[in-house]
């Protein structure tokens, strides 16, 4: 069952997509200054800001839909791990650039069709944010695909390492296409999208890029899920404790 403490279904729905973006945005931000090249550092910073920008819009809207008691910042900074409803993929730790790119690529290939579908949402705010986000996601996917191809079809070592990263992230990909009651309800009312309908597009993208990169698509064996219900892997709590530390120790602090 969902542990989100929002007051209505629409807010819960918006928050889950906002959570995906703030978590991957924070993950990317922790990589700044560690990229293999200065140029890639800038690119990772841009990706991070794009995701956090989308999250900001969505959290602000979710806070409004929720009834106005809490701000968007409260939703980000004052919810615990169990109240976060992001996908497990985006919270995964990266041990190096290969992991970061593998995680980003598998997520970008999901987010682009997601935003394209949500661009037609009957909810004007969701449609507006999604139209903007779709443009950004198109670039994100181009960037991450480019790296997958270059690393996969690069040297023996880069091939081995990016294949290992893809393998490592793979078991968190099935969750992206699991639809729960809320997804189906939002899809049938025209506000949201049923994520299971995105899987074909995702597979087409992923298969084409992996093939070009001379990489092997991992077996769809064991898949983990639970993020949408607040059941996370060990990494989210660690990330949140760092991200929320200032607000937790000095509540209401701003600059």
């Amino acid at each position: 069952m969902n542990t989100v403490t929002t007051n209505n279904d629409l807010a819960t729905y918006i928050v889950r997509h906002a959570d995906d973006n703030v978590v991957i945005g924070q993950r990317l931000a922790t990589y700044i200054s560690r990229a293999p090249e200065l140029e890639e550092d800038l690119a990772v910073g841009n990706l991070s800001l794009d995701h956090i920008g989308v999250a900001d819009h969505l959290f602000t809207y979710a806070a409004k839909v929720d009834g106005g008691e809490r701000t968007g910042d409260d939703l980000v900074m004052l919810r615990s791990e169990r109240e976060y409803t992001n996908l497990l993929l985006v919270e995964q730790r990266h041990d190096g650039f290969g992991d970061l790119i593998a995680r980003q690529f598998l997520f970008d290939a999901y987010q682009l069709p997601l935003w394209e579908a949500l661009s037609a949402s009957t909810d004007e705010t969701i449609a507006g944010v999604s139209q903007r986000a779709a443009k950004e996601a198109r670039y994100h996917l181009r960037h991450s695909s480019m790296w997958i191809v270059r690393l996969g079809d690069g040297t023996e070592e880069s091939h081995r390492r990016i294949q290992a990263s893809i393998d490592r992230m793979w078991r968190f990909t099935g969750e992206m296409f699991e639809a729960d009651d809320l997804d189906r309800e939002m899809a049938s009312s025209g506000v949201g999208v049923d994520p299971s309908t995105l899987k074909d597009l995702w597979e087409t993208t992923v298969d084409a890029v992996l093939e070009e990169a001379t990489l092997t698509r991992p077996e769809d064996s064991f898949q983990t899920s639970g993020g949408r219900c607040g059941m996370h892997t060990e990494y989210l709590g660690q990330m949140l404790s760092e991200m929320q530390w200032l607000q937790r120790s000095m509540p209401g602090q701003s600059w």
Binding site: E37, E39, E40, L42, A43, N46, M146
Partner: protein, 113 residues
């Protein structure tokens, strides 16, 4: 090319050299950005990238993220041919002010050219 870089205890100096034998950096590209349609592409700086496609993306991230442009060119820096010897190349023009059309009277009706 190498820079003086502070060396952390335990680091060997060659570990932190740039541009030397330990450097695995990518080639340099010059970046030209067109601010808006109708204007020319203008040189804005340079970036490193392994190939042209990556160079375009890096240029986009490095030089257009504040909406500076509508089009980007990248050129391998190695391909740029530069003038040398400013003395013989450009100094001869310094005492030929008559090559500037500044001696004509402009009729009032013409207004701002």
């Amino acid at each position: 090319m190498s820079y003086d870089v502070p060396v952390a205890p335990g680091d060997k100096p060659q570990d932190v050299q740039f541009g030397g034998a330990t450097d695995h950096g990518f080639p340099l590209w010059e970046v030209f950005v067109r601010a808006k349609r109708g204007l020319s592409h203008t040189h804005v700086g340079s970036i490193h990238a392994p190939d042209s496609e990556t160079a375009i993306q890096n240029a986009r991230d490095g030089y257009t993220r504040r909406a500076e442009g509508v089009s980007v060119w990248v050129v391998p820096s190695m391909e740029i041919v530069a003038s040398d010897d400013a003395e013989s190349m450009f100094e001869p023009f310094e005492d030929k002010p008559y090559r500037h059309p500044t001696f004509y009277e402009i009729p009032e009706e013409v207004g701002q050219l």
